[in-house]
Symmetry: D2
């Protein structure tokens, strides 16, 4: 999935570990909503609240990865010579945020 | 988790089944990102793209549940006599959407 | 602009007054950003912060109008007989929120 | 409003001109909604649709300013020596987007 021209731009190990742990917890949360949806008396708004909580947890992971990317790969892109590509792919992500 | 005063307002079975299947697929997607984060050369923007895809999938599930809730429980709330509560909890969900 | 089949569903006068006043203030805020953009030393992030403040002010107006619409026109839609249309147009608004 | 340490980081003239023109048009749009709200038969959903259109127009202005900021001030922040501050203020903007 990684773009070959960017293969040297790996996510910082500490951020990667933290993101993996948080996402493992998000996976458990989603698993819980799947089970919740097996009950035939589940209330719509309870499902919506759980989806919103998952959304918030994903947003926190995304913020940490974005912050690390800005620090380690974006603020030095002109020096590295790939600023156009870096900005283009970043805008693609941020546009629909 | 269901509010006792709303225990009769269960999510429509067809929407519930579809939501459960979609969320099982979201869980698999999150699982895939967890594995992706085990690779030490994972690129930040690839992670952000995957998180965004999960976010879009969750939003579709939420839209289907919301639409069903509006149809089956909100448009008849005055007749049922719980309009204030129904609107209050709905605004709480929609506020941060 | 109003849909003829909904012409009886007018926005509540008190909410309408409050929305008009808040939007007059938003217009002033936008006017201020236009003037800010006449300065050749304006800093990008200061513009982004102002745009975000306007966005927040618009969201508050939207929340008040939405809450009023839910209370006065959505929670009685089945009794009135236009639930399908009411839900359809509401989902259209909420989808991209 | 501009941060003194950033006073050299001015918004690109072409983007500034375009943003000013678009925002002048947004101001006219908001003015139109204010007038719309003077009518006592205005329909809630028509107001919500107009607010959403304004929101979309503001987002386009914000995207153009953000893209310019990334290109001209963020991708060279390490070389300039203010990367921490640049990333911090950017995350503050993007967090609630």
């Amino acid at each position: 999935m990684a773009d070959p021209t960017h293969c040297q731009l790996a996510l910082e190990p500490a951020v990667r570990d933290s993101a993996r742990q948080r996402l493992a917890s998000v996976r458990g949360h989603v698993e819980g909503i799947v089970r919740m949806l097996e009950r035939d008396d589940v209330y719509c708004v309870d499902v919506l609240r759980q989806l919103k909580a998952v959304d918030g947890a994903l947003a926190k992971v995304g913020d940490a990865v974005l912050r690390s990317h800005l620090h380690h790969h974006v603020t030095n892109a002109q020096a590295r010579g790939d600023a156009d590509e870096i900005v283009g792919e970043l805008m693609e992500i941020l546009k629909y945020r």
